[in-house]
Structure formats: structure tokens, C-alpha cells
């Protein structure tokens, strides 16, 4: 173990999946055997990923802690570092620091129904929880997933969506924005909040987990209110610009709370106590 929190673990890119235009998933393996054996994380945590020579960027760990031996991240090419990462090939080396941040309280959710509501590139943080929950399926009651993207092409994890769709113990609803559909599209057409309203999940003994762009979250919360979900049963993740990941560089705080340490997972009760600075 190294004691320099800024020194990344070296990881090998074992597998690259092109999820959607500009969106890739990397499966990463720790080079150091000791680290590979001992590395642990929980659903909701994130990491800092290095493209050496260009820098670091922040994404959640998109794989489930129940799947041992590797971690995965899914990212969209947007800035300097993600573009550099996207150029890397299978077998090459990159860096990983983490896991950082808090986690979804899966223990508290035992025996409950779960409704996952995700939009666009925000499925990755949720995919981690979804697989965690599905791999320990006996702990939970009904599981529903609502996932929306701009267009059919923009849907990520297409193979897994198919897998979830085929499972009898998961209720998957996918939707694309109007105009984003293809001729053979069989899912819903419409924005996430309105499709959620149509889905009409019961708030009884149910936790709603919402991840998506700010505008989606803004319009989804009122629908959940209308459906009768209490704020303490709604969870989301915040994203703020980060550099260090460990509460020092000064960027990600919302009021006195640091997204990198106190988050990224916040219940809606916690969220409402925060100033609007995210």
C-alpha cells in the first residue's frame, strides 16, 4: 500500500466496450496482485482515473462490488482527459485512485421495493447498484428500472438492458426523447419524468434512486412527490468538479458538505438541507 493519496494504482485496460457514440466502458484490472486481492469498494463510490501525460478525471465505479477482480468505468469523451483516455487501447496501462466518497445504503434497503430512474450518461453510477442488488436479489422486493436517453443510439449498456428486460424479476422500462426513436424501437417515447408518471410506481415500502442531468432531476422530483414518495425514500448522486477526490482541493463543496467525502450519494432530505450551489 502506498501512503501518497495522489499516487494512482496502475491498472490494465482489460476490455473496452463502445457503449454509444463517444461513450466507452473500460474494464480495469489492478497490476499489483496484493491490491487486486484486497481492493474493496461499495456501490456509489467513485474514483479518479489517470491518463498519464494528460491528467485525471472523476467518474463513479460502474461495476458492482459483487463482481470481484476488476472495476469498470463508463465515460463520455468530453474534455482533455476523457479524450486521452478514449485513445487508450486494451492491454495498456492507466491509473486509478479510489474508492472515494460515501455509498448507497443498501443494508437499509433490504426487503424494500426499488425504483431506479436514470437518464443518459447517468446510468453508470446506477448500474453499479443495480448489479449489486441483482446479485443479492433475495434481499430486495420488486425492482423496477426506468432508463431514458436522447436517442436509441445514446442508450448505454445495450446488452445488459436486454438481459434485464429478459429477467422476470426486473421490470425494465426504457424510453427515448421524442425524435430519438428508430423504426423498430419498442420502448417508450417521451421524457423520463412523464414516463415515470405513466409507470406509476407505488411509494409503499419503496426507495426511488434518481440519477441524471440536473434538468431531469428537477422535473422528476415533483413527479415522485405526486406519486407520494417521501423525501427520505428518494436518493440521488451529485456531481461537482473535483480534482483531489479527498476533500482538500476546495472545488466540490456545497455549503459545508463535500461531494467527494459526504457524497456523492445524498438522500433528498440531505439535498434539501443543502444550499443551492450544485
Amino acid at each position: 500500500m502506498n501512503d501518497n493519496i495522489y499516487l494512482p494504482h496502475l491498472v490494465t485496460i482489460e476490455k473496452i466496450t463502445q457503449e454509444a457514440p463517444g461513450v466507452k466502458t473500460f474494464r480495469l484490472k489492478f497490476k499489483d496482485e496484493e491490491t487486486a486481492k484486497n481492493f474493496e469498494f461499495k456501490a456509489g463510490q467513485f474514483g479518479e482515473y489517470s491518463a498519464f501525460g494528460e491528467g485525471e478525471c472523476t467518474f463513479c465505479i460502474a461495476s458492482s462490488p459483487t463482481r470481484k477482480g476488476y472495476i469498470e468505468c463508463t465515460f463520455r469523451e468530453a474534455g482533455k482527459v476523457t479524450s486521452a483516455l478514449a485513445k487508450l487501447e486494451e492491454g495498456q496501462t492507466m491509473g486509478f485512485r479510489g474508492p472515494f466518497g460515501n455509498t448507497f445504503p443498501l443494508d437499509e434497503w433490504k426487503g424494500k421495493n426499488l425504483v431506479f430512474i436514470a437518464g443518459g450518461i447517468a446510468l453508470p453510477p446506477m448500474r453499479c447498484v443495480i448489479w449489486n442488488v441483482l446479485d443479492t436479489r433475495e434481499n430486495f422486493n420488486n425492482i423496477s428500472i426506468l432508463y431514458g436517453a436522447k436517442s436509441v443510439a445514446d442508450l448505454v449498456y445495450k446488452h445488459e438492458l436486454k438481459e434485464w428486460e429478459e429477467r422476470s424479476d426486473v421490470n425494465l422500462v426504457t424510453t427515448v426523447d421524442p425524435g430519438g426513436e428508430t423504426p423498430d424501437w419498442k420502448g417508450e417515447i417521451g421524457f423520463v419524468p412523464s414516463v415515470l408518471e405513466k409507470m406509476n410506481p407505488s411509494p409503499k415500502n419503496t426507495i426511488a434512486i434518481v440519477c441524471g442531468p440536473p434538468v431531469m432531476i428537477k422535473f422528476t422530483f415533483p413527479v415522485l412527490d405526486k406519486l407520494g414518495f417521501q423525501p427520505e425514500n428518494i436518493y440521488t448522486t451529485l456531481e461537482n468538479r473535483m480534482k483531489c477526490g479527498v476533500g482538500k482541493c476546495g472545488r466540490c463543496n456545497v455549503g459545508s458538505q463535500y461531494v467527494c467525502k459526504d457524497g456523492p450519494v445524498f438522500s433528498r432530505v440531505q439535498l434539501e438541507a443543502l444550499p443551492a450551489e450544485y
Partner: protein
């Protein structure tokens, strides 16, 4: 606390001897109308006439640019070389004022809450602070309003106070004692004086209790907008501050190898918090000014049990548009 005396001449000898014995000496040196900390080779370079150096001495533990580790790429593979704590030189910071010595505690709070920051600690562990009490102050100083004082020993390893003949030496820590004991012949007995007689007199400017009570509930206040109108959004206040620790992480690359660097950054910069998407949680200057003050006077006390301000007044002196901090804090305390 153990007290001793050292003469003007012996002080110079002491500093030069420590330098010869391998300590790096970081001390105030004046040039033109500015005085700033520099690594010196002789005690003769030191200037002690200033009220306040332009910058604080924080760079000794938190340099403006620091290598966190280095990397070398080779056909898709990567080799890393960690930050080498052993290569950090032993350093004496001489002539900092009590407000600067006190500033290392909030800095340490930031760098050590939860996770420990190796580079920062490597520097701090090998640094001894020999401070100098203030015999003069100016209208920007306000240490006495934030629980400090011109002769405060907090944070120092050794505190010197200029007296009629030489200096009163207060040995505050074990680290300080080691540096005195090693050169014990240079020191005389406790001069037995009333230290306060030699210190600057600085009236309290605002009621700290009032400020503490009010500021934590002021996120939505109009005051931030009013106070920050003239702020032009540079980083001068943050960079001269003894407790500001915001940083950026950057890559210095040449060909296949390079260093990952940490460099000073400021919450006052407009792009500090901007997301790749273009969304910016602190879009306008008033939000950034609010962050600066709330971080120092509300968030840090709440999370780290230490205030992010020692009343040195540097931010006010450095500001191109006279954002006078004690005036703004007085305004808040009196709201």
C-alpha cells in the same frame, strides 16, 4: 514554557550555524518596497523592518508548484516514481509573525482531515518555525479580532520577542527545544521581562462571537453581492493568505515522461468550479466571495474545528480594489 535570552549578534550566529549544519533558512528579505520570504544563505540578507511580508510563509509546506509523483510511459506500460519524502530538506522558517505561525494549523486541518497528505506532512515534519512577535502593526492587521495576538505562541516552535537588548526566547515545542539545545552556548538566561510591554497594541475590530453566530446562517444574504461588487476575481487574496489551500492538479509532460503537479488555485477564479458541460455552480463573483468567507468562517470551524483566518490582513493589502477583510467582517458582525 522555557524562556531564554539571545542577543542580536548571537541570533545571527545561530541562524548562520543552523544554515551551515544543513538547515534551509526561509526568512524575510526586502527588495524595493516589498519584503518576502526567501531561502537565504546568510543571516545578513534578513530584513525585519516590515510590518507584514507580501506573502505568507505557507509555501514552505505548500509550495506554489509541487511534484506529487512522476511517471514514465513505455509502449502502453507506465512506471511511477512516488513523491520522495526523504528528499525534503530540513528547514527553519525564521521571522514569521504569530499570525503566520497560527496559519499552519488551519492548513494542517485541510491537508489532514480524514486522509493524510504526504507531501504537506513531509514538509511540516521537517520544518521548525522560529517566529517573531510583532512590535508594530497597521490598519490592515486584525489578529486580536480572531483570537490571536502580536505575541501569540500558538503554532510556533520558538517565539522571539524583540526587547530592549536582544530577544526574549520562548521555547514552545520539543522541536524548538532541540534547535536551542544544539546551540545552547548562544543563549542566556530568561531576561524576566514583561513581554506585553514590547508588543504592538492592536485594538479588537469586531466581535468574533457575533460574527460566528451570524455568518453560518447567511448563505442567502444580500451582503455577498454588496460586498463583492468591486471584486475583480483575481487570486491575489488567496495566494498571499497563510491558510488558503485550494489547489489544482496538473500534468507537466515532456514526451513520454512527466510529473503530476499540485499548484495553487483560488475559489475566486470564475472557472474554478466549472463543469465540463459548462454548468458552473458558482457562476458569479458574489457566489465566489461568499464561498471564500463562509469557507473560512463557517465551513472550516464546522468541519475542521479551526478558523481559516488568522487576521494577518495580507488579503486586504494585496487586493487591487481594496476588498478590506476586517471591514467586511465588521460589517457582517454588526448586521
Amino acid at each position: 514554557m522555557e524562556k531564554k535570552h539571545i542577543s542580536q549578534d548571537s541570533l545571527k550566529v545561530w541562524l548562520n550555524k543552523m544554515g551551515n549544519d544543513g538547515q534551509r533558512i526561509f526568512a524575510p528579505v526586502s527588495k524595493g518596497d516589498k519584503t518576502d520570504f526567501k531561502y537565504i544563505t546568510s543571516a545578513d540578507e534578513i530584513s525585519l523592518d516590515h510590518i507584514q511580508t507580501t506573502q505568507s510563509a505557507k509555501a514552505v509546506a505548500f509550495p506554489r508548484t509541487e511534484k506529487l509523483f512522476s511517471f514514465e510511459k513505455n509502449k502502453g506500460d507506465v512506471q511511477l516514481t512516488d513523491f520522495d519524502a526523504e528528499s525534503v530538506p530540513y528547514t527553519v522558517v525564521f521571522g514569521i509573525h504569530p499570525c503566520d505561525a497560527a496559519g499552519f494549523r488551519p492548513l494542517s486541518g485541510i491537508f489532514n482531515w480524514d486522509t493524510k497528505d504526504k507531501p504537506f506532512n513531509a514538509h511540516i515534519d521537517r520544518t521548525t518555525l522560529i517566529s517573531m512577535s510583532c512590535t508594530q502593526c497597521d490598519d490592515y492587521c486584525f489578529c486580536t479580532s480572531v483570537n490571536g495576538s502580536p505575541g501569540n505562541t500558538e503554532g510556533s516552535d520558538i517565539l522571539l520577542t524583540p526587547i530592549t537588548d536582544g530577544y526574549l526566547v520562548e521555547i514552545v515545542t520539543e522541536k524548538g527545544k532541540n534547535l536551542v539545545d544544539k546551540y545552547i552556548d548562544l543563549f542566556g538566561a530568561d531576561p524576566n521581562i514583561n513581554k506585553d510591554d514590547f508588543l504592538a497594541k492592536l485594538p479588537v475590530k469586531f466581535n468574533l462571537e457575533e460574527l460566528n453566530t451570524k455568518i453560518s446562517h447567511m448563505f442567502e444574504s444580500e451582503v455577498w453581492k454588496q460586498q463583492s461588487e468591486r471584486c475583480i476575481g483575481c487570486g491575489a487574496c488567496a495566494f498571499v493568505c497563510p491558510t488558503c489551500a485550494c489547489f489544482d492538479i496538473q500534468e507537466d509532460t515532456k514526451g513520454n515522461s512527466g510529473n503530476r503537479l499540485r499548484c495553487w488555485d483560488s475559489c475566486g477564479f470564475s472557472l474554478f468550479t466549472i463543469h465540463t458541460s459548462g454548468h458552473n455552480p458558482r457562476e458569479i463573483q458574489s457566489q465566489r466571495w461568499r464561498q471564500r468567507l463562509l469557507h473560512k468562517f463557517s465551513y472550516m470551524p464546522e468541519r475542521l474545528s479551526v478558523r481559516g483566518c488568522t487576521g494577518c490582513g495580507r488579503c486586504s493589502r494585496a487586493c487591487p480594489v481594496d476588498m478590506n477583510l476586517s471591514e467586511h467582517l465588521t460589517g457582517i458582525a454588526e448586521l
